[in-house]
Symmetry: C2
Subunit: 223 residues, 2 copies
């Protein structure tokens, strides 16, 4: 089995109301194929959805926080209304103009579904979409990209009950495929550049039939 | 930027003392190239290192546990002596013969360094090595593969102080590259098959010069 991960081209700065699908298609190496997975940063999605806010950062963090989980110095780790546990509740002031911050999309699963549907309409291709953000981990240093919005694939691959090579049921039952997709795209993205994401090809077996969106990244949130 | 991830071929069942490098080279599609990253499961490494134990599972879990972190029903989440937080302290009874369990390698960074060195000796190629295990996450459902041993690349890519596209220093400072590599390999592996890992090509910029191993996966453990 073989997959490829290819960075999208560089986009101009994004503003509310920009046609993101149009820009993504222009930045897509060779254009989309059936079974591709588009991995796109929440930053790009948030900007076109009008989530660039000219407001005090702390106020925005407070508004996005459902529950504070931890504090380390200036850093607040917060659970958002999406159920995501993120530094500064996912509010970011990098890669945006001075005096502004970018909050997460209000409903990243809906954003993913919208992008998937619009890509199908404009190109006829069956492409899954993963919207990503960058998250720290409680017991590990560094950050990885994770899936906060998903459409067109099962975010968890349920292996429960499948036998191992010795005929015993597998203990590890649900690889978080959408998070591994997000991480693989993170490997080809330069955080400082205006690359909005990447395309993963070769995993068509994971992509749901046209029009089926699956349960979304909401299924990745531990209740 | 573009990377490929390709599953290694299927291996026979592994036993203590098997020549893992020889078997990996036989299973390696097209053979290793300079700048490749070999991602290999801790299970394969542990088996050839004699970590298949015919012993009571609970006893092995207790012996591998440095500190119990959580309990959910039968599941114990434990911090191992490596500083890893894993279900059953990384002790696994899938993909091993009945009556046996497989514990983690004693020093996965040393295992990674050994594989990297031996690959260089036998092939003359400069290949980085990531040893992986599968881990749950406290706030998210499902599991992802993570790096527990690393040689030949910096497990964290330190971006601190680099400017974003608007000239402001990046807030996210250290992508956990080794974990994202582990996750990308997880996408091409069938958990139930005897595939020991995958090869990631196209990230030669991350691979250290021959003979340099870097700080290992130990750098991914939050102190």
């Amino acid at each position: 089995m073989r997959l490829t991960v290819q960075a999208l081209g560089v986009l101009p700065d994004l503003a509310a109301g920009d046609d993101l699908v149009d820009l993504l298609l222009a930045a897509w190496p060779d254009g989309p194929l059936d079974g591709d997975v588009l991995v796109v940063s929440s930053k790009a999605v948030a900007k076109v959805e009008g989530r660039t806010l000219r407001a005090d950062r702390d106020d925005v963090v407070a508004a996005e926080t459902d529950r504070e989980v931890a504090r380390r110095g200036d850093l607040r780790v917060a659970r958002t209304r999406h159920g995501l546990v993120l530094a500064a509740a996912g509010v970011d002031e990098s890669n945006t103009a001075a005096g502004t911050v970018v909050a997460l999309p209000l409903d990243p699963d809906a954003s993913a579904r919208g992008l998937r549907s619009e890509l199908a309409t404009r190109t006829g291709r069956n492409v899954a979409v993963v919207v990503t953000d960058t998250a720290g981990r409680p017991w590990r240093t560094g950050q990885t990209d994770i899936a906060i919005g998903v459409a067109g694939l099962e975010p968890l691959r349920d292996l429960a009950g499948e036998p191992d090579a010795w005929g015993r049921p597998l203990v590890v039952t649900a690889p978080a495929v959408a998070d591994e997709l997000a991480g693989s795209a993170g490997l080809v993205l330069a955080k400082a550049a205006r690359t909005p994401g990447a395309v993963v090809s070769g995993l068509a077996r994971l992509v749901l039939p046209p029009g089926e969106h699956g349960p979304g990244a909401a299924a990745l949130v531990r209740p």
